[in-house]
């Protein structure tokens, strides 16, 4: 009788006896993500489910990430198959207004320039000993575009998914802190004060409808492996601009996006198991992710300076910083910083153009990387 009671009592303590230091550290990290999301409003829609997922998966013996476990089921169904990030892209497309970009298409170049940090970081990661697929996944953090980073990483380095996603989303929320010092450092007083003429809406409804279709066909022919990403974002945008499928547009940007965000966040959190996450490479990924975003900002600004020169001072280089994706955060930073230096400076709409260009740029950058890896016989 006593033995049975003791065995039962031991059963109750099994969880505690299997708790390791690693689990405890991860519980604290999960709590920290929740704190950042809830208390400081850093990307709460993602950090809250990610943080809670990280806590759930580090409870000993709970088995949520074992075969048949609920989080493993979400992960296998949505992340491994790449369905979750692609559905998020439909929602992003439905929410994005490409008008500022269409009003001033040359600003797309800033969106392209804002992706060069990705490639520099890739080389840096290779030099630090990461494999090619891992380096691509780390470099893509610089796109400052969570779903793209998740899509590429789930395809090539799923074991890094937790670290890459946490880095991508943490830095996305820190864009207002990361970018301003770089913007200040790299532009002259004269450049900071360039006042840009207001963006006037002259793009026709027909152009807005044709844009997602033409952009999909053109970019997909150039980089076919990026078709799922570009196709989904442009599908969402077509739902918005066509004006005839309001229900689908609303479902894409609200119901579907909300459900998928929850499941994606939980699945990402679930990859943060102590034995996989607590490694020196996670720390390196966090550092490299920061480098990638800083370099992208630098390249966007430098290209902005070049455009300022080429247009004889008609473009304020500060909008170059919005060439990284991080939509619409980076555009807001450009507006805030522009008005800090010159109260009469209203850069928001111009920066939105660069920012949406950055979204296209980050998807193209991912597509190019996927093609290069395919060429190398990987993936």
């Amino acid at each position: 009788m006593n033995e049975a009671l003791w065995a039962g009592f031991e059963g109750l303590l099994l969880g505690v006896s299997h708790l390791t230091l690693g689990h405890l550290v991860m519980l604290v990290i999960g709590g920290l993500l929740l704190y950042l999301g809830i208390r400081h409003g850093f990307e709460p829609l993602l950090l809250v489910p990610i943080g809670f997922g990280a806590i759930l998966v580090n409870i000993p013996l709970a088995g949520l990430m074992e075969k048949g476990g609920i989080l493993r089921t979400f992960y296998d169904a949505g992340v491994l198959t790449e369905i979750f990030p692609l559905l998020i892209f439909v929602g992003i497309g439905a929410m994005t207004d490409f008008t500022p970009l269409l009003e001033n298409p040359k600003i797309l170049l800033l969106g392209a320039a804002g992706q060069f940090g990705i490639f520099s970081t890739l080389l840096l990661a290779l030099a630090l000993g990461f494999t090619r697929p891992e380096s691509v996944s780390i470099g893509i953090i610089g796109a400052c575009d969570g779903p793209t980073a998740i899509y590429v990483t789930s395809r090539f380095a799923p074991h890094l998914l937790g670290a890459v996603s946490v880095a991508a989303y943490s830095y996305m929320s820190l864009v207002p802190l990361i970018q301003p010092p770089i913007m200040k450092l790299l532009t002259t007083e004269r450049e900071k004060n360039v006042v840009m003429a207001p963006v006037r809406k002259s793009v026709s409804g027909r152009t807005k409808i044709l844009f997602p279709i033409v952009a999909t066909v053109l970019t997909s022919i150039i980089a076919p492996l990026g078709t799922p990403l570009m196709g989904m974002i442009m599908l969402g945008n077509l739902l918005k601009e066509s004006g005839v499928v309001a229900r689908l547009k609303q479902a894409s940007e609200q119901e579907i996006a909300n459900v998928v965000t929850l499941l994606l966040g939980l699945s990402i959190g679930a990859t943060m198991q102590a034995e996989r996450f607590l490694k020196i490479e996670t720390l390196l990924i966090m550092v490299l992710g920061l480098v990638a975003i800083a370099l992208d900002t630098v390249m966007g600004l430098l290209f902005g300076k070049l455009m300022c020169l080429a247009t004889r001072g008609k473009i304020n280089p500060l909008i170059g910083a919005a060439g990284i994706s991080a939509f619409p955060m980076a555009a807001r930073v450009a507006q805030t910083e522009g008005q800090r230096y010159n109260k009469k400076n209203y850069l928001l709409m111009h920066a939105m153009g660069a920012n949406t260009g950055g979204q296209i740029g980050s998807v193209m950058a991912a597509a190019i990387m996927l093609s290069v890896l395919r060429g190398l016989g990987i993936g």
Partner: protein
Amino acid sequence: MTEVMAPMDGKILHVKAKVGERVQEDQTVAVMEAMKMEIQIVAPVAGTVVEIRVEPGQAVDPDTIVAVIQ
């Protein structure tokens, strides 16, 4: 007379200046919202506000005159 124009498409949130008020250059005349961001619309020159042509909640674009300063 100097017209204070809305800098972009959006919606007026508050009008800060009053008719007859003397404003400095770069002083906020009104606050608008665009892309879920608050934007200060400032006086391009110093002077006296002689006319306010917008009200809170009103949609504006770059052709909208917000106020007139003399």
